[in-house]
């Protein structure tokens, strides 16, 4: 089963996604796939908070900032993968390890292919993404392109996922499917 979880920030998405991943795993192997590359102390504090939050839940952590389909070779595909988050993955793919400072125009296609491959190859996958689309701000070209690209990934995942959930102030809205009892 594949699940897409979206919503605004500080909404409980990661915590809820962890619960879903544990539920879907049915006690079998489950991985927390960390995509964020920490750049400063704020990022490192955030990562520590997430590690503490999932302590005792039985997750193994995979750090996969790019090439998300590599989860299937880094780990046993017959497992549950929680990808946190699509947002950070796209940002990393936009700026490959050897880049010249310009955003890579192929990043969104590469991300889409990788995410769909992971969804098709894994036993279960839970994808966390961020909802950045409903404010009254005129963004610069790069940010606007980033939003459009993330929205394209969200739509591609929403189409193939069995369950699509929005978290709104910690409240759960099911846009597609439902979770197993």
């Amino acid at each position: 089963m594949n699940v897409l979880l979206s919503g605004g920030c500080k909404n409980g998405k990661t915590g809820f996604a962890q619960d879903i991943a544990v539920l879907l795993s049915g006690g079998e192997k489950h991985y927390y796939v960390a995509t964020m590359i920490p750049y400063d102390s704020e990022d490192r504090a955030r990562i520590k908070r997430h590690i503490d939050d999932r302590a005792g839940m039985g997750f193994s952590t995979l750090e996969v900032p790019r090439d998300i389909a590599s989860c299937l070779t880094l780990a046993k595909p017959d497992a549950t993968f929680l990808v946190d988050s699509v947002t950070a993955l796209l940002l990393n793919e936009l700026f490959p390890a050897t880049h010249n400072g310009d955003a890579d125009p192929d990043a969104v296609n590469r991300c889409r292919d990788g995410l769909l491959k992971l969804a098709a190859g894994a036993k279960n996958a839970v994808f966390v993404t961020d909802y950045l689309y409903s404010d009254a701000i005129r963004y610069d070209g790069f940010t606007e392109n980033y939003r459009a690209s993330l929205a394209a990934l969200d739509q591609a995942l929403a189409e193939i996922c069995d369950v699509v959930i929005e978290l709104c102030a910690g409240n759960v809205i099911f846009h597609k499917g439902g979770l197993p009892e």
Partner: protein
Amino acid sequence: MNFIIGGAYQGKLDCARKKFNVQDDEVFTCTEENGIEFCARCIDKIEEFTLWCVRNGKDATEIFKEHHAKWADSVLICMDIFCGVVPLGADMRAWRDMTGRLCAYLSAEAETVTRMFCGLEQKLK
């Protein structure tokens, strides 16, 4: 009138095409410069019209009320720009407020209201 709202890039115009069989040549796309065309079967990016109103000292809801008969059977599309943080600029704040008030009015007038989320339809009315 059928009203479609949602965030940027969520598939609002696609919804108009699929759900209400809107053809591309029936769509009027508002911009800050060209205002609005109330006779079009589908009016897209109404948030750009509200920005035009803010810049020109007009009230978007009042203008919609004046032209009610023309859009009574249309498909109207607006971005829900009123969900985010209150912007710092006074005109952006006015834009956000005016769009929020207009959407509340249009929702009340609509036969159906659909919110698009990641390409999926959510029926609000």
